[in-house]
């Protein structure tokens, strides 16, 4: 059954057919027909109005990460679309399924540098999984169908659909395209396990390993293979390291979980990775923040790499056994072949390394100062030991969060990993809270990144989202300041910030806020935020010169860490 519909109606009806419930966006000249159709036909979708298109794209990204469904954002041509690009690049790096719909000038004006024209198709090509420019209304139904299919299948990623304004206004006989009519001869993302022979070899390697380690990335979460990962770890007693985006793949309180590895991973975690003889990498890209300088990484290890995307295997490091396939199905095939193992010596060694880390931990020391790790750990305690979702921005607070908040639930940490987008936090938290309204959402942000997108506070209040914001204010672009301290001879070029009074700012948006300066106020403030029904902001004013340790210097090996300073009064066993 088909009816005459215009392009704008086709957009909304296609979204509804794909099961879309929420769209994040801002209208503009080139999307007027789309927005008009939304009002005129009262489509049953929630439209969340952002204050900046970058915010809209991060919201869609956050929504997608939190729900596992496609996040949709909508922007107008030219500046609207170029404002989306940061969010698209971020979603692309972190494999997040997003569909961005942008308006474009009418086909008659294409290429003539019309008002608000930008080559969005060209601009977004390298930062999307795929993109389309629709100049013919007859293509529109298929393109939208394909866009969703591409975004959420295989390795997920963002897809942009740029629709000319006259296409939105043109009418055709419309029905949702039949699946068989779609034409993607070069895209067949069927979920399959890796090659059985290779799985056999991998099992053999694991069974004969003396010092095996698993590195679990976000691929485990996307494939929903957490249970299989834990089974593998338990069966053969293999310690599990996660990447930043893989946090939550194994409960971090599990004895076999040895934390996050990489630049700000704990020393015992990185030692385990570097000293391993078999490294099982699952759904991780092995980027430089995890591996340190490529040449020295885990040089004794044979690497087994499970990934759905063949282009990731062997991209950065030579792989001994590539297992290209879905993590869930591959682990299921691998599990029966892996023999139970104890590895007492290896686990003992890691435990020994861990003692030294625990001894240096700032939380083990008596200090009156309000140190950020204390805030994060308190937050963890007061949320029933992590019974909440945490969204972070990018910077020092992000690393403290990853170190001190022990995530025991999957998909409970959302953070910008690959692109490291400051300003991601607040809008992403909005998307997360919209997608998972029943769960408490805490945003942990720094003062620098927060100010990049803090205009979205109006969205928080307008949409009545009960997001709790823990703002770690050190009055600096802290991570950059830290690097200047360590590598640039303390020349603080451009890093000190002029900040507003954040509590007053929250008040101006109509949400309560509280400033905390002392350690003993932390618990009360967090409890007050939790007791409040709506959004709440706590500004923690901390030492501007607190650094994140341990740290692997850029271009250095993971074996070469800058450790946490030894406590001032060393204990007896400190040799």
């Amino acid at each position: 059954m088909s009816e005459r519909k215009n392009g704008a109606q086709i957009v909304w009806e296609s979204l509804l057919a794909e099961g879309v419930e929420v769209v994040f966006g801002i209208p503009g000249g080139a999307t007027l027909p789309i927005y008009d159709a939304l009002a005129k036909h009262e489509y049953a979708l929630r439209h969340v109005l952002a204050t900046h298109e970058q915010g809209a794209s991060h919201m869609a990204d956050g929504y997608a990460r939190a729900t596992g469904r496609v996040g949709v954002c909508l922007a107008t041509s030219g500046p609207g679309a170029t404002n989306l690009t940061t969010g698209l690049a971020n979603a692309h790096m972190d494999s997040s399924p997003v569909v961005a719909i942008t308006g474009q000038v009418p086909t008659t004006l294409l290429g003539r540098d019309g008002f608000q024209e930008a080559d969005v198709h060209g601009v977004t090509m390298p930062i999307t999984k795929h993109n389309y420019l629709v100049t013919d209304i007859h293509e529109l139904p298929h393109v939208l169908r394909e866009a969703f299919y591409i975004a959420h299948t295989g390795r997920p990623g963002p897809v942009l659909v740029d629709i000319c304004k006259d296409v939105q206004q043109a009418e055709i006989e419309f029905k949702i395209p039949d699946s068989a009519d779609l034409d993607l001869p070069g895209y067949h993302p069927v979920l399959i396990a890796a090659d059985p022979d290779a799985i056999g070899q991998a099992a053999n390697l694991i069974n004969n390993a003396g010092q095996p380690v698993i590195v679990a990335g976000q691929g485990v979460l996307i494939a929903q293979a957490e249970a299989e990962l834990c089974q593998l770890a338990e069966k053969a007693n293999i310690p599990v390291i996660t990447t930043l985006l893989g946090v939550g793949a194994i409960p971090q309180t599990d004895p076999l979980s040895i934390g996050m590895g990489g630049m700000h991973g704990e020393a015992y975690t990185n030692n385990a990775m570097m000293e391993s003889d078999v490294l099982v990498v699952i759904g991780a890209r092995l980027d430089d923040r995890l591996t340190g300088v490529f040449g020295t990484f885990a040089s004794k290890a044979q690497i087994i790499h499970i990934d759905l995307d063949p282009a990731e295997v062997g991209k950065n490091l030579a792989t001994d056994i590539p297992l290209i396939g879905d993590a869930l199905l591959t682990l299921r095939a691998l599990l029966p072949l892996v023999e139970p193992n104890e590895h007492p010596a290896w686990l003992g060694q890691i435990a020994e390394w861990r003692t030294d880390t625990d001894f240096r931990d700032v939380l083990a020391q008596e200090t009156e100062e309000l140190v950020p790790p204390f805030i994060i750990r308190q937050l963890w305690h007061l949320t029933d030991e992590g019974n909440c979702i945490v969204v972070t921005d990018v910077g020092q607070h992000q690393m403290w969060e990853a170190q001190y908040f022990l995530h025991t639930k999957r998909r409970s940490l959302f953070t910008s990993g690959g692109l490291g987008t400051m300003g991601f936090g607040l809008p992403a938290a909005i998307g997360v809270q919209v997608g998972r309204p029943e769960e408490p959402v805490w945003l942990v942000a720094g003062d620098g990144g927060f100010q990049m997108t803090m205009a979205e506070l109006s969205t928080v209040v307008k949409e009545e989202l009960p997001i709790k914001i823990a703002l770690i204010n050190n009055r600096h672009l802290g991570m950059v300041r830290q690097w200047q301290t360590i590598f640039y001879n303390k020349r603080y070029s451009g890093t000190p910030l002029f900040n507003p009074d954040f509590v007053k700012l929250a008040d101006a948006y109509g949400m309560p806020g509280l400033a905390v300066r002392h350690k003993e106020e932390v618990e009360g403030a967090i409890r007050q935020a939790q007791a409040h029904e709506g959004p709440f902001l706590i500004e923690f004013q901390v030492d501007p010169f607190a650094d994140v340790y341990p740290m692997v210097a850029p271009g250095k090996s993971n074996a070469d860490m800058i450790r946490r300073p030894v406590p001032v009064e060393p204990l007896e066993e400190e040799g």
Binding site: G19, G122, I324
Partner: protein
Amino acid sequence: MKHTIVAWMEDKPGVLNRVASLFRRRNFNIESLTVGHSEAPGISRMTFVVEGDERQIQQVQAQLFKLINVTAVQDVTHMPSVERELALIKVNATGADRSEIIQLVDIYRASIVDVEVDSLIIQIGGPTDRIESLTNLLRNFGIREMVRTGSVAMVRGNGFTPVEGHNGVSETRVAQGARHLTPPKINLPYRPFPQKEKKTWPTSTTTRTLISTY
């Protein structure tokens, strides 16, 4: 070393841009790139000559493969194949030089396609090394202008020809050639063969539903 890679892709706007952009972004070194129609309507065929080590060549193929519009990729470097290129060379030709050049053209089985008082345009088709060899000889007379098409390649006999029909890849042909579809060390049917029967395209709500807690 130099590798010759053939890729088949949908003939759609922006595809050439995607491929070129990929090579630029990933820092792959292209020696030559040619593109034109294949035997299948709607499918173009590109031949690249790429300089790189084994790992880079694997990456080139895997990254190309990842482009949604690319239907197949094959490294034909180590396969029995025919590789050809065409060049037009405008060379100075006066006096005694002229007969010497004509002799060279004969030896190289090239042809003269334009004659002027003081110059000739020579057309030569063949493997790259033969073109290079003739070009080197002609430099002695003074080359005024030269244009080369870049290599095109085709596997001999019953080798791998993945394009058949509008929808790209026929099942049996790909099955024969599947091992070439992916880099040698990576043994995977990541891009499985198109199914003949009608597919059901899941909407985003019907993918694995998310369980928010353990």
